[in-house]
């Protein structure tokens, strides 16, 4: 079980302090999820078709430049690598899918944490405060972020098993709850829809489901609507997209969720205390999302 948080900064003047606002939100959820934590940050959008891929390897001396070099050579472009603790960001003037495919083929041992144009995902085992510090999240800038603290229920406490999960470009999902039909759904998505899974985690199946729906031409709202019928179990989802984020609760709605909004920002969290430090929260509209209802915010 877990804590989830999301923050979208409507006011561009606040975006240099995204991490400063976001980090305390996630730390408040430590009791709900002491095992591991993860953050998806939307920032520094690469120009139109350029790829940004976040990768993970536990070896502190891993040679990311060598990977960038080999990929540059094979794809005949210039790819740069930037290490961020146990992760690295590869930037390339090529479609994200192409870079992803190269990595999957040529470096299958590397874990792809995220791919797209703007999204960066960092996740690790350990207390949220420690995870945030090692990836420099408190200093981060950007438009929006989604995060998660984990108390593992049925799958292992591993770096890969932490949320957010990314199965499609710039898309990420965090989940509080427990699905009950994910094993068969995972098999179907893998065998019939060609979605690749890295873990045995139910939340990754939900992310894969959304990716499949989006690939079929659905909007994120339509994909989430379809999820109400196709996913069984208890969930509050926060989904990060290129342009903003969405929230969905299952029809029974036992897992918590609270939202708050001002002219400057909109935020969600599993418990109000995550929102309590946000600027002007005392003047915010605070409400609880209805069950089986998709909520979305962001640039149109």
């Amino acid at each position: 079980m877990c804590g989830i948080v999301g923050l979208y900064l409507k006011n561009p003047d606040l975006r240099d302090r995204l991490g400063a606002f976001f980090s305390p939100m996630l730390e408040q959820m430590t009791d709900r999820g002491p095992d591991s934590a993860g953050v998806a940050i939307y920032r520094d959008q690469a120009s139109d078709d350029d790829a940004k891929v976040t990768l993970y390897d536990p070896d502190p001396d891993f040679d990311w430049d060598a990977v960038a070099g080999a990929a540059s050579s094979d794809l005949n472009i210039t790819i740069t690598a930037e290490r961020v603790s146990s992760h690295a960001i590869l930037r390339a003037p090529v479609d994200a899918g192409a870079l992803r495919r190269w990595i999957e083929t040529n470096r299958p041992g590397l874990r792809i944490m995220s791919s797209g144009n703007i999204l960066e995902i960092y996740k690790e085992v350990g207390l949220p405060a420690d995870v945030l510090a090692r990836f420099g999240v408190p200093q981060a800038t950007g438009s929006h972020a989604v995060g998660h603290t984990r108390m593992a229920t049925e799958s292992a406490v591993t770096t890969e098993g932490a949320h957010p999960f990314n199965t499609g470009d710039d898309l990420c999902l965090v989940h509080n709850g427990s699905l009950s039909n994910h094993h068969r759904l995972r098999d179907w998505l893998r065998d019939q829809a060609g979605i690749a899974f890295q873990t045995d985690n139910d939340s990754e199946v939900a992310a894969g489901y959304l990716t499949w729906r989006l690939g079929q031409g659905a909007t994120i709202a339509e994909a989430l609507e379809a999820a109400i019928a196709d996913l069984d179990g208890f969930y509050t989802f926060a989904v990060g997209t290129r342009d903003g984020f969405s929230v969905l609760r299952d029809p029974i709605a036992c897992k918590p969720a609270v939202m708050a909004e001002t002219d400057d920002w909109v935020a969600m969290a599993s418990e109000f205390r995550s929102l309590a430090q946000l600027p002007s929260v005392d003047d915010a509209t605070v409400w609880e999302p209805e069950p089986a209802t998709v909520y979305s915010w962001g640039r149109a």
């Binding site: 079980m1 877990c2 804590g3 009791d31 709900r32 999820g33 002491p34 095992d35 108390m151 593992a152 229920t153 049925e154 509080n176 709850g177 427990s178 208890f234 036992c254 897992k255 918590p256 599993s270």
Partner: protein, 435 residues
């Protein structure tokens, strides 16, 4: 001419009879007791007593201690027990006041605890039991903060072995005025019970609930979390992460006074693998012996007690066996068993409220058949026997404290038991699935 063809294994007479009962009544069969089918159990494990490489303790002057402390992790007043055998949660309503009192008196005499059940705490039980664990259930029947504070520990019930994922059940014939008042129900109706807690779902919210319970009881009392054995490894880890001081794991053989037969038989795993899974989970979190493990579900003899402890449990809990010590299924009042369509040794008719020996009933005439003092003496004798049997086996393995029993003191007689308990098949080094 005799029929030489055997009964069908798929459709023996009892299955045919059940199908025809369903065709008449159109509803599931409700009964008491635990899973009746044969499952791998402690019967399939034996101890390797002392011989040339290990030496036994003398039975009289060489101590074999049995005490255990439950719940020191956060509570300022942990539970100290003289013996590692407690009385499991059973509701007033399912059983009568005399039975509750008898169990309390016996537990007090033996230096152990009893546990309330669905419906709350009776004054008789609080008075009779020196150490009383208070169950905090999904129904919250009879739950008051005063009772919470009067208890010595709190057991948050997520489920029980007879019906993991199910709620309590008490039929109208047992909902007397007194029971009805305690549970805030109209007398004589069939009680429906919630299967989930009303104000929390999941270990992340349980963590907040446990904190609230501590705030309300001044952080004094140990908080136990009880689960029916299913995904035991995850459940025990999550209970620890949610802040439990002790975990109670109840295997599928665990009893009930009223549940659907199919639920009892087809849901849950046996106690044998559940113990092992629970201990592995605690060890993985480095919490073995720091968060105590109490195991229940078909504990019958001191041998069962010793085996559960040897696998790593800190204590066991008995339910049905304690009632049998009170004369459940004793050959008395045999006409009354017959009137229920059963006989001593096979009775599971607790749900009817017509218990021939006055235990699982609210009828005063039937209850009068159970004298609390006499019943207490029988349960005390039984608890003493369990303790002595456990000590005998522990001494034979060279242990001066029953907690020093370990898995390596045992071997299994069947492949299933070897795999479930992760002890070698006797005469081999083989643990199926492990080596």
């Amino acid at each position: 001419m005799t029929d030489s063809k055997p009964d069908s294994a798929s459709f023996p007479p009892r299955v045919i009879s059940e199908i025809q009962r369903a065709a008449r009544e159109g509803i599931y069969d409700i009964r008491g007791a635990g899973a009746k089918r044969h499952v791998p159990s402690f019967d399939d494990l034996v101890f390797l007593g002392a011989s040339m490489s290990r030496y036994p303790l003398e039975g009289y002057r060489e101590r074999c201690d049995t005490n255990v402390v439950i719940g020191a992790r956060h509570a300022s007043k942990p539970i100290e027990l003289d013996i590692p055998i407690t009385i499991a949660g059973m509701s007033f309503g399912a059983i009568g006041a005399n039975a509750k009192q008898a169990l309390g008196l016996a537990a007090t005499a033996m230096g152990t605890s009893t546990t309330t059940g669905d419906g709350g705490m009776t004054p008789e039980e609080r008075e009779a039991s020196k150490t009383l664990i208070y169950q905090y259930l999904p129904s919250r029947y009879g739950m008051t903060p005063d009772q919470l504070r009067q208890a010595d520990a709190i057991e948050v019930v997520v489920g029980q072995g007879a019906k993991p994922g199910g709620g309590g059940m008490l039929l109208g014939q047992k909902i007397t005025d007194r029971v009805a008042e305690m549970r805030t129900l109209p007398a004589g109706i069939d009680q429906r019970s919630a299967c989930r807690h009303p104000d929390w779902t999941g270990p992340d919210d349980l963590e907040i609930k446990i904190r609230e319970l501590r705030e309300i009881t001044n952080w004094e009392k140990p908080i136990y979390v009880k689960v029916g054995a299913t995904r035991t490894r995850y459940d025990v880890m999550l209970a620890v992460k949610a802040g439990a001081d002790a975990v109670v794991v109840d295997g599928m053989q665990g009893g009930t006074a009223a549940t659907q037969h199919i639920f009892i038989e087809d849901v849950g795993i046996p106690t044998l693998p559940a113990v092992r899974l629970a201990v592995e989970a605690l060890k993985e979190l480095d919490m073995h012996r720091k968060v105590q493990l109490i195991v229940s579900g078909g504990i019958r003899t001191g041998g069962d007690v010793a085996k559960a402890l040897a696998l790593g449990a800190d204590a066991v809990s008995i339910g049905m066996a304690a009632l049998m010590a009170l004369n459940c299924n004793a050959p008395l009042y045999e006409e009354d068993y017959a009137a229920l369509g059963t006989h001593p040794g096979a009775c599971d008719r607790c749900h009817t409220g017509r218990c021939p020996v006055g235990i699982a009933t609210q009828d005063p005439e039937l209850e009068a058949r159970l004298d609390p003092e006499e019943g207490a003496r029988r349960v005390r004798n039984y608890l003493s026997t369990l303790t002595m049997e456990c000590q005998t086996l522990a001494r034979a393995c060279g242990k001066s404290h029953v907690h020093n029993l370990e898995p390596e003191d045992m071997v299994a007689l069947t492949v299933e038991a070897a795999a479930m308990a992760k002890v070698p098949l006797a005469g081999t080094d083989w643990i199926p699935g492990s080596s």
